[in-house]
């Protein structure tokens, strides 16, 4: 990773005047994907006596929000988002052991998978990473997930949201089967269901009884937030 002038400047700690300032620096360095600098700054914030939850919310998540906003506006490339996510992980690795139980904020618990008969993983993974960047807790069931497996996972993890992915027109029907499976199990009303993938449309989502459709990974985050009512 390239460490430019601003971060070298930061490392010397010359601009660490106020507590608010360090959070802004964490957010802006996270945006730039400077994972080493983010880690250093998180340590500095802790040394100043700042609460871990405050560093997480005011620094890491605030930075990731900016990334998500600019990606959605078309100003960022996918790798830039992922590099920022890498920097967020660098900060999270330090904070996680220090955060008390229940202090880790979650935008929602999200169960995600590619439907039965479909082994395509890449698009689903991108959506998952974008959701994690936005503070969602994700449970990834992988690919070729049978309706029963979705139902069992809902029962076990009790998520608020389910995301189903399909790349093939031949596997899209697995989405409807999964929704029907959840209905039969009496779990349909406990979750909001989102679908996505290259051959899908909003009309198809409505037709099979899903709650929402997202055309791309950036939109998926917004759709998920809307479904959570935030």
């Amino acid at each position: 990773m390239v460490i430019g002038l601003p971060s070298d400047h930061l490392r010397k700690g010359r601009t660490m005047d106020t507590k608010a300032h360090v959070l802004e620096q964490i957010a802006s360095n996270l945006y730039k994907g400077e994972d080493d600098v983010v880690a250093t700054l998180v340590h500095q914030a802790l040394d100043q006596g700042m609460a871990p939850a405050k560093i997480l919310n005011g620094g890491l998540i605030a930075g990731m929000d900016e990334v998500g906003k600019d990606f959605k506006a078309g100003d960022l490339f996918v790798p830039e988002v992922l590099i920022a996510a890498r920097a967020m992980h660098a900060g999270m690795d330090i904070l996680r052991p220090l955060l008390a139980e229940g202090e880790v904020p979650s935008a929602g618990k999200y169960l995600i998978g590619t439907v039965q008969g479909d082994l395509h993983d890449i698009g689903k993974n991108l959506v998952k990473m974008m959701l994690e960047g936005a503070g969602f807790e994700t449970i990834d069931l992988g690919t070729d997930v049978k309706p029963d497996a979705f139902v069992a996972a809902v029962r076990e993890h009790q998520p608020q949201l389910i995301g189903m992915s399909a790349l093939l027109t031949t596997t899209m029907t697995g989405m409807k089967a999964t929704i029907e499976g959840l209905e039969e199990a009496g779990l349909r009303d406990t979750v909001k269901i989102m679908v996505g993938g290259a051959p899908l449309t909003a009309a198809f989502a409505e037709q099979i009884g899903a709650d929402a459709y997202a055309p791309d990974a950036a939109t998926a985050v917004d759709v998920a937030r809307n479904l959570m009512g935030v």
């Binding site: 490339f77 790798p79 590099i83 395509h120 993983d121 990473m129 690919t143």
Partner: protein, 486 residues
């Protein structure tokens, strides 16, 4: 592993002619010159050739092979071109490819109204200004024939507009020796003197004989002026198949080669080593409309053959690409531009002009220039070839990857994505919904917006004050002489 010698990347090229084919064209050209002969309307040109061993027969000047071969031997294989700030930006030499617009279109597509209208001197300046900003455009040409100045002063005004609009090297045209002298005075003032201009030329003159085999007085006079002053010059004939040249491309190439070599010989007889850009224009005369087709496949085919001939002679070479017969910037224009520009790169044509022409060279289009800039950038990426190295083979990333899981979030992707993939600037890859949301803009619309943005934002360093003073003097002299004659 110790550090090993890197694997060299192959950068693709094409050859259109075999050695045997090149020799056959060369011999046919020499036979045309010694057996058929040319018509020379310029007296000094006639004397130069006859004094060097040519002879007159049946109203023609017939030129022996040794005269031509001596000229090839004395010409420089490279022409270093500078911008008007004195920086070497366009060394015309083996392996290098430079692009720029064409000259003297009577019409332009108004970038504000979209209307086709007569070009003005201000259009020439604005197009040069646009070209100054376009990263893939290396030189400027006048691109418009100004309708708002006295007809005999067209070329002078075009030159002034070009150098005001851009610092990039230019290829200029002129009416006659008087134009050449006035332009030379201005150019010397820009460069800081005659010696400075000769050492760091920022302009190259474009004159042409009339195919087949006619050397008109003014064009030879302009050519000789360049040789006298050491101004780089090109003298491409236009043996368009079925028009200025035989209907068959081989015949057109033999004729055009002969004609171009006479231009070379004239410059070398005046001053050996005169920087001369070899080449010819091999368009097709369309057999239905009788237009000279700028988008015809014969042109890139002929350009590639011409580049092979230039390599045989070890001369820098002139070419044509990025021009269209289409009347608008549409799919046809894109096809015509992309095929010809790809060919120009593959043949390593050194100076490639006419980028941005539509309507078979009758109309200039700023949108077409902006589109061409994107095509050149994309083709340049393809010419880069495929780097094969440890960093590009990505062994570790492949080893790490979960089968089916992809590389999108792998560190190898995150560390290399910026250089490993080409990224479009004008070409659209938005998802459908977003494209609709952003106004459903097609390529021409986006190019128009980009052109207007550049015109509004891009800054060009002004000419030196001394140069503006000489321009004022020259224009005043023209006005005074016009008054005397009326």
């Amino acid at each position: 592993m110790t550090e090993q010698i890197p694997i060299e990347t192959l950068h693709p090229t094409i050859r259109m002619l075999s050695d045997e084919q090149i020799e056959a064209i060369h011999h046919a050209s020499l036979d045309i010159l010694s057996g058929t002969g040319i018509v020379m309307k310029n007296e000094v040109g006639r004397e130069l050739l006859v004094d060097a061993g040519a002879w007159e027969s049946e109203g023609r000047i017939k030129i022996p092979p040794h005269l031509v071969m001596d000229a090839i031997a004395s010409a420089s294989p490279r022409i270093p071109m500078f911008n008007r700030l004195g920086e070497l930006t366009m060394p015309l030499e083996a392996g290098k490819v430079f692009f720029g617009p064409g000259s003297d279109c009577p019409f332009t597509i108004d970038v504000e109204t979209g209307q086709r209208r007569k070009a003005t001197a201000e259009d020439v300046r604005r197009i040069a200004h646009l070209c100054d900003s376009l990263a893939q455009i290396d030189f400027v040409m006048s691109m418009g024939s100004p309708s708002d100045v006295p007809p005999l002063d067209h070329y002078l005004h075009s030159f002034i507009s070009m150098i005001r609009g851009s610092v990039k090297p230019n290829v200029y045209t002129a009416n006659n020796r008087e134009d050449m002298e006035d332009i030379y005075r201005i150019a010397c003032a820009v460069a800081g003197g005659e010696d400075e201009l000769r050492e760091k030329p920022f302009m190259l003159h474009y004159a042409e004989p009339i195919s087949p085999l006619l050397y008109n007085d003014e064009s030879v006079d302009k050519l000789l002026f360049c040789a006298e002053k050491g101004i780089p010059v090109t003298y491409p004939p236009s043996p368009n198949t079925g028009g200025g040249g035989p209907i068959t491309l081989a015949g057109a190439l033999a004729l055009g080669n002969a004609e171009s070599l006479v231009g070379l010989a004239l410059t070398q007889l005046v001053r050996p080593g005169t920087p001369f850009l070899y080449g010819m224009n091999t368009a097709a005369l369309d057999m239905k409309s009788a237009i000279v087709s700028y988008g015809s496949p014969e042109w890139p085919l002929g350009m590639a053959a011409c580049a092979d001939l230039a390599r045989y002679y070890d001369l820098p070479v002139w070419g044509t690409a990025g021009a269209a017969d289409s009347k608008v910037v549409d799919a046809q224009a894109g096809i015509e531009a992309a095929i010809s520009m790809m060919s120009a790169f593959l043949t390593r044509c050194n100076l490639v002009h006419d980028v941005g022409y539509i309507e078979y060279g009758t109309t200039s289009s700023m949108e077409m220039l902006v589109v061409a800039d994107e095509i050149i950038r994309e083709v340049r990426y393809i010419m880069g070839g495929v780097e094969i190295s440890e960093r590009t083979l990505a062994r570790e990333a492949i080893h790490r990857a979960k089968p089916g899981g992809g590389f999108l979030a792998d560190d190898h992707t995150l560390d290399n994505w910026k250089w490993a993939q080409w990224r479009p600037e004008l070409i659209d890859r938005m998802r459908y919904d977003r494209w609709v949301e952003k106004g459903r803009k097609d390529m021409a619309t986006r190019a128009n917006e980009r052109a207007r943005q550049i015109l509004a934002e891009h800054q060009v360093p002004p000419l030196p004050e001394a140069a503006e003073e000489v321009i004022a003097e020259v224009l005043k002299e023209r006005e005074d002489s016009a008054k005397r004659t009326t």
